[in-house]
């Protein structure tokens, strides 16, 4: 419940205040958001299995976000930023879809 409230609060504050993204964060924010969404979907699925663990969620959230951002950074340094960003997005998208499918099966079988 705290998580949902936090999510809604974040969206509302972001829409109302429209803060500027620091320049050094701008390339990484979109990928980080997708990675965080993936972690969120994974956490939700774990919760349905009764295996949700806050510590696991927190570490995987932070790690996913950092690795995604690092991959974008590395790709930019290697000159394949656009391709690597696409690759990360594709992988994360697949994971989000599979997690979402699992969640749907657990909740809506009937």
């Amino acid at each position: 419940m705290i998580a949902i409230i936090g999510l809604l609060l974040g969206v509302i504050i972001g829409v109302v205040l429209q803060p500027d993204v620091p320049v050094f964060l701008q390339p990484y924010l979109p990928i980080a958001v997708v990675a965080a969404l993936d972690t969120l979907a994974g956490g939700l699925r774990a919760a349905l299995d009764g295996a949700f663990d806050s510590h696991v969620f927190i570490t995987s959230f932070l790690f996913n976000v950092l690795i995604a951002a690092f991959l974008v950074f590395l790709g930019d340094q290697l000159g394949v930023g656009a391709q690597l960003s696409t690759a990360v997005i594709v992988v994360l998208g697949i994971r989000i879809f599979s997690n979402a499918a699992a969640i749907r099966r657990r909740l809506l079988r009937s």
Partner: protein, 250 residues
Amino acid sequence: MTGTRIPESHGQQRRAWRNLRGTLAPRATLSQLIVGLLCFLLGLSIAVQVGQREEDSLQGASQQELLRLLDESGRHVDSLEDENAELDRTLASLEAGQEDDAAAQSAAAERLEDLEILAGTVPAEGRGLHVTISDPAGSVSTGIVLGVVQELRNAGAEVLQIGPVRVIASTSITAGADGGIVVDGTEIPSPYVIRAIGDPTVMEPALKIPGGAADSVSSAGGTFTVRAEDEMRIDAVRELAEPTHSQVVK
């Protein structure tokens, strides 16, 4: 893979819902608060990122896209510069044409002035010679006066006036009924005053060469006086007759 496991019964499905409710139930533990904070950050990032993209489409553009845009604008600039150069050339040619027109116009104006002086339609001024032939005895013939005029013309007189009459190309000098001369139908009594614009240092010796115009006046019994003037004005003008039969060959 556990993700594809399908609950076998309604019991398992109910358990899933129960698990969800259990997880979502608010518990004020530190971990839950951190999870909430992370979710808050996620929501904030989503909202900000969406706003950012609406704000400026260039900021989210990739390097290739930016390069393409730069390339396109560069090409656009090139074509505009080409157009600019073209227009500059057109402007230059138009200006050159205008200068040519102006030159032609001033040349035509100059030519008009020359022709007006030649035709005697305008007054003229300049240095020249003032010749007086007095003939108290009436013995100076028309031919002698004509000789003086011819001599002046030969010596480079540009504008001539006999008495009050401007001398032009078609001027005739004939003998009058009572011994005077008639210039273009105007009878002129003695003394005959001839005014000529030209170089006096050329015209005066030309008149005075031995056996020339001056001598023939003296030998006919008249007196011949000549005076050089630095500023002479010839005011007599002629009306130009419009040619009725002739046309310019083009």
